[in-house]
């Protein structure tokens, strides 16, 4: 069976200037996830977490490489049907729109009705309102229904680390233009890049949770 998601030689390059092109951003990703689960994604601001999610859900075309969701190249599927494969729950008001160069009629239909992959981009976790508990249960329910869940989180409070360490079974660190897979919370925070991104105080909290 095809992996739930596979990023095959993905590379995204942003440039500026017309005559003298200068590269302003690069992101490379090469990974696949076969089994349902919950993946925690962390990384500094501007590292490309949202760009990664946009490529995985088919709104932002990679410069090269393919994103296969359940074996289907999501960028070859009709625009309005891509969220039947992988759906991006954006940060509020952060939806970016991209040019649609190929007419939808020339694209494929989605083979699935409901998304296989759910990507939550910095969900608002507010410990005061109690929704966190329902949100975490929902992520687990999706996983138990055979879905793959990605949660992008920018840890700014202790409970963010608590959430990440308790709910995710795999982790990804987006940093320095690369996406690195980590098998455990311990492996994630022991990476020097993650450690410096967290800062000494958050790192200390994180190491107690690992």
């Amino acid at each position: 069976m095809a992996p739930l998601i596979a990023l095959d030689g993905i590379r995204k390059v942003y440039t500026r200037g017309t005559l003298r092109r200068q590269t302003t951003f690069t992101l490379e990703a090469n990974f696949s996830v076969d089994q349902p689960g919950i993946v925690g994604v962390v990384g500094p601001n501007g590292a490309g977490k949202t760009t990664l999610f946009e490529m995985m859900t088919g709104s932002n075309e990679p410069t090269s490489g393919r994103v296969l969701v359940g074996g289907t190249d999501i960028h070859k599927v009709k625009y309005k049907e891509r969220d039947r494969l992988a759906i991006h729950y954006h940060q509020s008001y952060q939806v970016r729109h991209f040019k649609k160069l190929v007419p939808s009629a020339m694209l494929l239909s989605s083979p699935t009705e409901r998304p296989l992959v759910h990507l939550f981009d910095e969900p608002q976790f507010n410990p005061q309102d109690g929704y966190i508990g329902f949100m975490l249960d929902f992520f687990k329910r999706l996983r138990d229904e055979g879905k793959l869940v990605f949660i992008c989180l920018h840890p700014t409070a202790t409970y963010h680390l608590e959430i990440l360490s308790s709910i995710a079974s795999h982790f990804m660190l987006v940093s320095g233009g690369k996406v690195m897979q980590k098998d455990s919370f311990g492996a994630l925070i022991s990476d020097e890049r993650c450690r410096s991104y967290l800062g000494p105080q958050m790192y200390e909290t994180a190491s107690k949770l690992a």
């Binding site: 969220d83 939806v95 409901r114 005061q128 109690g130 966190i132 329902f134 949100m135 929902f138």
Partner: protein
């Protein structure tokens, strides 16, 4: 038995998925609360239930009849009545005339709010009965615009109940009310409970947790949790939060 059932409701506005897959049911006589963060899709879901928005996929059954895609006036005729987040009253008409205009027998005789002044006595009495139910009988002849905010909220509910609905849908009924107003509204809903089937979107958690039989939590266009108030409170994060206080 479920009086209203929604299955697999999917709604998109252009590129944006607003409701991904909502399953929902409300039983006869039940008060079913809906809560969720802003922008979660609660009002859109209400609009689907009341026929204002046609779902892209999914079905709605009312008392066993498939009413998916029915326009709002047909759904209303079948007994689904609603209030709005933003109040919709005839400001220049009295409380009684607002209720009269919503009475089915009056409406069926040709809708014209201006006719309210000459309406038959039995209709006037019926309107007064509805106003008495929401404690507005004494203000029957006061213009809607001259009522206090809390009274206007109560009048909205009176207008909705005047239609003798099978299901009353309330969109944030406590919105803008002070603690006194919320208390009066709680008393009113408590009186209506059991007589009517009620679905209410609400941000005021103490209101919802004290009155609802079941609560559905909508987020990301999906029902992420559902249960009785005590079932929802079992969640560890809920107990740690402000919601836990409403035990």
């Amino acid at each position: 038995m479920a009086l209203l059932t929604a299955k697999g409701i999917h709604v998109r506005f252009g590129d944006r998925v607003v409701l991904e897959e909502v399953d929902f049911d409300v039983r006869e006589g039940e008060f079913h609360g809906i809560m969720g963060p802003n922008g979660a899709g609660k009002t859109t879901f209400f609009n689907v239930l009341t026929g204002r928005v046609k779902p892209n996929r999914g079905s709605i059954e009312l008392a066993g009849e498939n009413v998916t895609g029915f326009p709002s006036h047909k759904i209303a005729r079948k007994g689904v009545s609603r209030s709005f987040q933003i109040m919709t009253l005839f400001d220049e008409f009295s409380a009684r005339e607002n209720v009269l205009a919503a009475l089915p027998e009056f409406r069926d005789s040709g809708f014209n709010p201006a006719k309210a002044v000459t309406a038959e006595k039995k209709w006037q009495d019926a309107a007064l009965d509805v106003l008495a139910e929401v404690n507005l009988a004494e203000k029957a002849d006061v213009k809607a615009k001259e009522l206090s905010y809390g009274e206007r909220r109560a009048l909205e509910i009176a207008v909705a109940t005047a239609q003798r609905p099978r299901i009353l849908c309330l969109d944030e009924p406590t919105s803008g009310l002070g603690s006194d107003g919320v208390r009066r509204l709680s008393d009113l809903v408590q009186r209506l409970k059991g007589k009517l089937t009620i679905v209410a979107i609400e941000h005021d958690m103490s209101f919802l947790f004290s009155l609802a039989d079941r609560i559905s939590v909508i987020h990301w266009g999906q029902v992420i949790a559902r249960g009785t108030p005590s079932e929802l409170r079992e969640n560890e994060w809920v107990r740690r939060s402000n919601l836990g206080k409403f035990a």
